[in-house]
């Protein structure tokens, strides 16, 4: 999986500036991992890595269309939403006698889309900012999860619970994320998706171009909802049970991965590939740190490094693109003025 992403990234990096930061970070982390934790490159290690990183990859992918739809399109609700769907899969579905893969995926994707449509409608119709709506939904869902399920418990359906201990990479653990990436690749090439991009870059231009803003924005949330559902299934496979709080930190991790992946909260700019790379980076940071002997301090190091990498990638991104451009232009003008005095 990692190699696969690197291959396509290698082809793209010469053209895509926003992918530079996540790819450079990925290479650095892989080099450290190669020397310090070579276990990652065994079949066992790869499968473990994939199981561990897949929920975050899909969660970040789910945040991507909302970030593109902008402005300040951050979906804070994703952690509690994944937790709610996790509880529904493990505790709810067996109650009505369903545990087949089809039922689990249908339930997860259905719930994810439903939640996102509600939020998208509030954002698009009421014109309340995305941060406010998703923050409110974060609070509602996070509170509700602990009320529905005060303590962790239950076990995931057998076919799903076995994912967590997967020792070979060629199983559903690989095929499900791959299918999700293919789905992303297809959706992101449609006219509908281009409309989302235009709306995110400049909603006034989109409006005067005749793009229906409300359906387009809700549509972005529907796409997000599908990936929230798949992320929740992968997450349930990872922990193998239902837990009222363990999924909540995915909000912060996914926001971090999204930004490292080169998304701009201004709207209009975010790439699926960048998001996936960002998520792999985040997972690799905690993997690499776990190979050092930090003992009890390990979680502090993960928190510090994740925060520092987020800030560093923001600074790097700001210098490579956007805000440094006027200065660069001014500099070129000055240089040009000095070097070619006779032109004018």
């Amino acid at each position: 999986m990692v190699a696969d992403a690197k291959w396509s990234a290698g082809r793209l990096i010469s053209r895509q500036r926003s992918l530079r930061t996540p790819v450079i970070l990925l290479v650095i982390l892989l080099v450290i991992a190669a020397f310090h934790g070579p276990h990652l490159f065994t079949s066992d290690g790869l499968a473990g890595g994939l199981v561990g990183a897949a929920p975050l990859m899909l969660a970040t992918l789910a945040m991507t269309p909302i970030a593109i739809a902008g402005p300040a399109g951050v979906d804070l609700s994703i952690g509690p939403a994944m937790t709610l769907i996790n509880i529904a899969i493990v505790m709810g579905l067996p109650e009505i006698g369903l545990s087949s893969p089809l039922a689990v995926f249908a339930c997860a994707i259905g719930l994810g889309v439903l939640l996102q449509v509600v939020m998208g409608t509030l954002i698009a119709v009421l014109r309340v900012s995305t941060v406010v709506v998703t923050l409110a939904v974060y609070l509602v869902l996070d509170g509700m999860n602990s009320v529905i399920l005060p303590q962790s418990g239950g076990t995931a359906p057998d076919w799903l619970a076995s994912w967590g201990s997967a020792s070979t990479i060629f199983s559903l653990v690989l095929y499900v994320p791959l299918a999700a990436f293919v789905l992303w690749a297809l959706v992101s090439r449609t006219t509908f998706f281009r409309n989302i991009r235009l709306m995110g870059a400049n909603d006034r231009t989109a409006f005067v171009s005749g793009i229906p803003l409300i359906p387009t924005r809700i549509g972005a949330h529907v796409v997000a909802g599908v990936f929230v559902g798949i992320a929740s299934v992968m997450y349930t496979g990872l922990i193998g049970s239902a837990d009222p709080t363990a999924g909540t930190p995915y909000t912060l991790s996914a926001v971090t991965a999204l930004i490292i992946g080169g998304a701009s909260l201004g709207g209009g700019h975010a790439k699926g590939l960048g998001s996936v790379l960002g998520a792999i980076d985040i997972w690799l940071i905690s993997y690499v740190l776990s190979t050092f002997n930090f003992g009890l301090d390990a979680s502090y190091w993960v928190q510090f490094t994740t925060g520092a990498v987020l800030v560093a990638s923001l600074i790097a991104g700001g210098l490579l693109t956007g805000s440094s451009r006027p200065r660069l232009a001014r500099w070129r003008k000055r240089r040009g003025g000095q070097a070619e005095p006779g032109v004018s």
């Binding site: 509700m144 510090f304 994740t306």
Partner: protein, 325 residues
């Protein structure tokens, strides 16, 4: 509706909601009006109130400070460590405030440069700071941190600062909050600096044209937020008596909720600290009532979330693109 809401709509509406909640609480819950309950509620309100000073200022210029809970936790744990190392408590507190201001200033500089990204900037800085402080504190041998908590000798005066049954009749923390609130309201309404926050939040380009320095104001505002967050951490240390890195966690979203429910817009340029005081009081009274009905803290969180959208939908809707062309 819009005519009634008008210019002072949010303060009227928030006051009505607060009054209704107080009446409802007084009627339906025994001991709501008791002196003990009022005094201890005010202490809780003062913690949230001090922490939201910074969030309100950031919201006014169109930013958002998510580093508050992390700075609260870092100040809380860091001060214990400084005291354990033998620093006199006033010096330790000053050091913590200065560090809070520096962290905030860094947030401000970066957030201004990367416009519209203050949410992620502060999130990253906050995580880095709290992680770093915990690493530094834990390397201190047996006096260090374990499981996020750190024990130490918290001075008596700091502990009594946040006790509800203080000899002067009210916790000094509440007086501190009241003083901060008064200072803030005067600052925002009557000074050039205060008005320039509204100008910046309203329209960045226009503010720049009338020579309001964006970078300087953003730095100052976020530094102020860092100081008030550190202050909350110190107050909470006095209240609990031992350091805990996660002590600020509830303030991540409740500070934003208090700002929004009061009626200050996150887009910038509209609102004020007076409104946030109302928001803080609404949240505190609501919490007292819900606890009175023996609802768990999770259920309270859910109800709080349900309140936010209607509050924002009344005042802070963004205009339709057709109105912006």
């Amino acid at each position: 509706m819009r005519a009634i809401v008008g210019q002072h709509g949010s303060s009227v509406m928030a006051s009505v909601v607060l009054l209704a909640l107080v009446v409802f609480g007084a009627v339906s819950i025994d001991g709501f009006w008791s002196l003990i309950n009022l005094r201890s509620s005010l202490v809780f309100a003062s913690f949230l109130g001090v922490a939201t000073v910074g969030q309100t200022l950031c919201a006014l210029i169109g930013g958002l400070d998510l580093s508050i809970p992390f700075v609260v936790g870092a100040a809380n744990v860091g001060l214990v460590k400084l005291l354990n190392d033998g620093l006199p408590s006033p010096v330790g507190i000053v050091v913590v405030f200065v560090l809070g201001a520096l962290i905030g200033a860094f947030n401000g500089v970066l957030s201004h440069r990367l416009r519209g990204q203050s949410l992620v900037v502060t999130l990253g800085v906050g995580n880095a700071v709290l992680g770093l402080i915990q690493i530094l504190v834990s390397s201190g041998g047996n006096s260090g941190i374990s499981g996020g908590t750190i024990q130490g000798a918290v001075p008596q005066w700091l502990q009594s600062f946040a006790t509800a049954n203080h000899t002067i009749g009210i916790a000094p923390a509440v007086i501190l909050w009241a003083a901060l609130a008064a200072l803030n309201i005067v600052l925002l309404r009557r000074t050039w600096l205060g008005r320039s926050l509204y100008a910046l939040g309203g329209n960045r380009v226009a503010a720049d044209r009338v020579l309001i320095s964006g970078p300087w104001t953003w730095t100052l505002v976020f530094a102020a937020s860092g100081v008030t967050a550190a202050m909350t951490g110190v107050l909470l240390l006095g209240y609990t008596g031992s350091g805990y890195a996660g002590v600020g966690d509830p303030y991540l979203f409740t500070t934003i909720a208090a700002v929004l429910i009061g009626g200050t817009s996150l887009v910038g340029g509209r609102g004020g600290y007076g409104l946030t005081v109302l928001g803080v009081l609404i949240l505190t009274v609501l919490q007292t009532i819900l606890s009175g009905y023996s609802l768990s803290s999770s259920a309270q969180e859910a109800i709080l979330g349900l309140l936010i959208i209607p509050a924002v939908a009344l005042y802070a809707r963004s205009p339709h693109p057709r109105m912006q062309i």
